[in-house]
Symmetry: C2
Amino acid sequence: MIKANDPTLHSWIQIAPDSDFPIQNLPFGIFQTDMKDPRVGVAIGEYVLDLCVLGRYDMFVLLDIDPTIFHRPYLNDFIALGKPVWRAVRNRVSELLRNTNDEISGNSELMHECLIKRSEVEMLMPVKVGDYTDFYSSQAHASNVGTMFRDPENALLPNWKHMPVGYHGRASSIVVSGTPIHRPNGQTKAPEAELPTFGPTAQLDFELEMAFIAGKDTPLGTSISPSHAEEYIFGLVLFNDWSARDIQAWEYQPLGPFLGKSFASSISPWVVTLDALEPFRVHGPEQVPSPLPYLSSGGHHNYDINLEVLLETEKGVETRICRTNFRHMYWNMQQQLAHQTSNGCNIRVGDMFASGTISGSEKGTFGSMLELTRGGTQPLRLVDGTERSFINDNDTVIMRGYGEHHGIRIGFGEVRTKVLPAFLQEK
Amino acid sequence: MIKANDPTLHSWIQIAPDSDFPIQNLPFGIFQTDMKDPRVGVAIGEYVLDLCVLGRYDMFVLLDIDPTIFHRPYLNDFIALGKPVWRAVRNRVSELLRNTNDEISGNSELMHECLIKRSEVEMLMPVKVGDYTDFYSSQAHASNVGTMFRDPENALLPNWKHMPVGYHGRASSIVVSGTPIHRPNGQTKAPEAELPTFGPTAQLDFELEMAFIAGKDTPLGTSISPSHAEEYIFGLVLFNDWSARDIQAWEYQPLGPFLGKSFASSISPWVVTLDALEPFRVHGPEQVPSPLPYLSSGGHHNYDINLEVLLETEKGVETRICRTNFRHMYWNMQQQLAHQTSNGCNIRVGDMFASGTISGSEKGTFGSMLELTRGGTQPLRLVDGTERSFINDNDTVIMRGYGEHHGIRIGFGEVRTKVLPAFLQEK
């Protein structure tokens, strides 16, 4: 069988060489149009392939799956069918799109119905998220934040190198790319002030992260070993963990981040499968001290994915403010999932696990304004000459990511979010 | 119209004076039997009233609701119909159960079908929980823990009197009363040890809490004022926030509780409506300093609910180890919900908001072993002569609660959970 990742594959659809969505990618998402209610699609070049329509034309008949599984507002039911089914569907879509296949390309009625320009669809949340965990797995980020919020001499807390530290986030406020968010209100207290005040945050920030999506349930009271963890991962998205630093700083002791984060998190709409990311596996950094056996994870479990953050001003001027790489993470996804379930905590299809801010060790590689501007003290100069300590109203933050191997680019598209002014508080 | 709370009401069903479920209570839950799949029921004395059957017999026909709404595995769809509908259904059930009404009592076929002994049904999770927040709103508890974990001189952190501090918990592992849990494994490090180790917690603890359930969605980017918060609350349950103190102590800096909590939380199965708790409203403690306007909440917004915790050993010997009252909470539910949404975070029907451990100011009123035994240093002596620093394998922890007014007792039943030994870690 020809592998869906084979770099020699070509599609009968014209695909630009710098597209994130060649025939080797085939990420899954949920889209709708004026004519079509929410359903499962696959991105290919400039198009969305409508799996609902393919099912209706019996294109999956050999796979023995209920084709109405693609006529759902979330991917969860499809994901719950299991990894053999995702693989079979992705392989079948790959086959249908190959330049050697005419099942779609030779049927103009079907082709017209199943291919829609991506520019003409609205992308929705790909999954219904049950629980969402945010890890803190970049050593450079944890060191940078530890230095600024606490003590430069002991930037990494004693537990950090022994476990992938994480916390539970708010699932209800995870929104898809293109959904504008409001600057949050909140309680803050300047160090020198006697009393706190309430109002719009003055330190709105992004955090560049990636998140993986659980592909399989576990029962309560069982754990996942690192060596089995990949069986439980469906795919990855870009993740912007919006943060209000002044709210966070005043609230977070002793129980961790809460309202400084829960106003919104934004994700990219296309879920790139772990299978599609196979060519980008790399060794992670050496872990010293060696993790405890329940976190032991030899081999190549990091991913070489180039990441960038752009800030677009109200007038549409874009400045790239960060370039970094997902390979920098100290703790990998296997270890994060093993840690999460080590106490018997169950996971469910659609659960989301974000990496924590991805920062490299040099300034241009930091994944948050907090780090890029050293807590706002060294503002960034944008292309249009204006400066930013944090994010302004009407700014748009854009994150993009892709791997490249043998000339094949597997990308995530983008997560793009405009910041609207604070809303009026209910009286 | 006769009020469903009227203390002069009596039912044609015999109800013991010390029952938690007189005709003035009428809490909602989800039950199943060997013969019946999951559905909505109301507790009355020793019985469950099957609302599905009542719907089939046209008993709700004047309310103009789809009777299949009661044939669901969770209350969420029913709750989403809105407060006027819950009220109308509860009032109608009250009417049907009154000794002056014979619509059920005069129809032996219906009566036989709609009333099932509570001892013969299995209670299930009443709601599908989207997000779960755990607050930290008892001053005595926060002071006790701050003294033990940090600094007795500054037991309350500076933010505590300015906001209801809280954090996001894990929704997937919330289980209903009767579900046994396993002692969790986890990473711990004794203060004097050089390196952490992994294994079963040696400090398994409960936390006595109450939780309210959201009854109405809000859109992202809007907030709820304290004066409107009660419109968003469906009802309350007892909540046992299981905690592993040694895991928690090592992991919780800087991002808060994670695996020390996420292995399980247990709730009582019957949701007592806010309407049923109306007679128990009391003033909360004076709040000094005055909260900021967005948290300002005059009037009677605490509830006088007696609470107790019992520990039952493997041989069935029960010892009451705590008696306290929900009225002690410093921050009330109105303020918790206003705070949660003050940054625009949306809530959804079924979301759960736990109070934090409910402790009074004296030893017998503390809501956790951590406080009752001063961190395990002063073990409790049980009725059978054995001692406990924390919870042993095969112990059962039972929490009960009720309000009493004009001789009418409105109770929550119980949340009862047996602790099984730690599970084997996957290899």
